[in-house]
Symmetry: C3
Subunit: 245 residues, 3 copies
């Protein structure tokens, strides 16, 4: 669709591998990836409410333009990259693919809008301004911090089975989990030993490590293995990490 | 291969996700997708009979050129987009990648032919004309229409688990299934309630809906879920849809 | 990352489907694919030892440049395509993405180096020369040849379930396995009949064939089916092929 409207525009596909309905996963991948990409029109669609009441958005901030549904998908990235300077609700039908289907706005709404934005159409052509404060936000859970322990939530599992959780390195350090520390990870009734480490090669093959991943998120991995499979970890699941005695 | 022969040509990859031997699935994806793509040379390869007797084709129609095996893969799209004006059997070896392997004509036959077509080589350079009426067609099953019921066949399951069947909205309406109607879907000995609806948001989360999808095919989905998984639906399988009493 | 540094450079993605830690699989796919691709800067990353002691390399040979880890991944392709004329260890930090993470050198080391190479930066800018003979090699197993039998190792399984093994057509012929021969394939305690054939269409649907695949490797397939699934074949596994009596 983009190439029909704007044949000269270059399309870079970050991923088509977000799980169905995975709005939080999509938001995190977008926020992790965009700092390493050229500035441009950033189109993202994970849209379980398509055809319902949710608004369609164009956001502008710090030289980048975002297009997608108003379900929180865009906002994590937009705020990480300097915040939202202007927000527009797409209401004009001038740039849409008619007839607009009820179930595929990625094709009929968001792609043609993104293509026209890439061609230089100003954002106010697509509809009225809306308050950035009115945009829907994802409820990203916060870790619970105890003495020598953290209760964290799995945010994302990548294709290697590495498990990103909702903690920062600062939170790890605050409970005494430093590089080299041995910890226990509790998942339901199971318990696993792991090491706080900087990289895979710092632990033995098969060992679990707790590390700061390349996007500066705390994550769990197995050197040479699949941590998500071993821990049966899925997005949304809670894990407890505590210092081993 | 295309980029070696025609470095300036732009390649747009629709999908590499067609199931092995999925000729009908490939034909439907091609026919669904091409109306939303720029005109060009359209290369499609799902080719279970590679190395056998099936012909290799170039089709021309309505400004578009199709390249692929003579197994029905191209014809659904070509006819939807205006019909076949000319058909050529690829017999000239001039443009092929020699030695032509017995098992990978996508690489050795179809891609180099598509690249040369994109460079402007006329279709008659690739071989003799054949009668469009001699082209192999897929046998797309027709639904059986009863009183207040339809027996349909699953044509295609997408990555969301949405299930496309071989019925039209007109056929649904003819048996009294209108937006808002409650229906039962029988799969083997199991039976499921569903609603005829326009979009996911018209039913509750977890409900099954029967709807016209964004390609104007009748399909089954679950709001927020995976219908193919719940119904154990696979391409080729029969389902019965009947008005609930 | 490449597009940020070198916006005009064209990126061709061979695959993102190599299994985690699949260094041998990656090396074989690279060696199979590159002869059919334009010359250029070839970036490959399957990097289980990232963050450890393994070197980061730029190799030059026969007009092509290779970038990736020193774990054998690049060498199978480089040697197939004319050998390594020069090898450089990446030590200069000038072209890297700082801060370089401990776990994602594909992003922070290899991609920026590949982008700068594509822009014309000479290989000696990235670090000191190293001896080509010092590069790490993969240990590709050799088949064991007996009277009328071969013991082979599975190297690679493709998405169709076709099973590439470590034998050549010459080795098949040397033990009397010629087109048309019937053979038995032993996998653990199971035994399967198969035919030596040139292409799928030479055997009946459902039959197993032993054939020379389109990359000139000996492989096992099922006409219309998935051989890896039927044989439970995985990379690294041993199979015995013997002439049927």
């Amino acid at each position: 669709v983009i190439k029909m409207i704007a044949p000269e525009v270059e399309v870079i596909d970050i991923t088509h591998g977000i799980a169905p309905q995975g709005v939080l996963q999509g938001a995190l991948v977008l926020a992790n990836t965009l700092p390493y990409m050229p500035s441009g029109v950033h189109l993202a669609v994970v849209d379980p409410e398509v055809g319902g009441e949710r608004r369609a958005l164009v956001l502008e901030g710090d030289g980048r333009v975002f297009v997608g549904p108003d379900n929180g998908l865009l906002l994590v990235a937009a705020e990480k990259l300097g915040g939202v300077q202007a927000a527009v609700e797409i209401t004009s039908r001038e740039f849409l693919l008619e007839p607009v289907s009820r179930t595929f706005h990625g094709r009929d709404v968001f792609s043609p809008v993104a293509a026209h934005l890439a061609l230089g159409v100003p954002i106010d052509e697509f509809g009225p301004r809306v308050e950035p404060s009115s945009l829907r936000r994802l409820d990203v859970p916060k870790p619970a911090v105890g003495t020598s322990r953290l209760r964290v939530t799995v945010l994302y599992v990548d294709r290697y089975g590495n498990v990103q959780v909702n903690a920062t390195t600062e939170e790890l350090e605050a409970v005494g989990m430093l590089p080299g520390s041995q910890v226990e990870i509790d998942v339901g009734f199971e318990s696993y030993f792991a090491f706080v480490a900087a990289t895979f090669a710092d632990v033995r093959p098969g060992d679990i490590l707790v590390y700061e991943d390349s996007y500066r998120n705390v994550a769990l991995a197995i050197n040479g293995g699949n941590a998500a499979e071993m821990l049966s970890a899925r997005p949304g699941q809670e894990l407890r990490i505590r210092l081993a005695e």
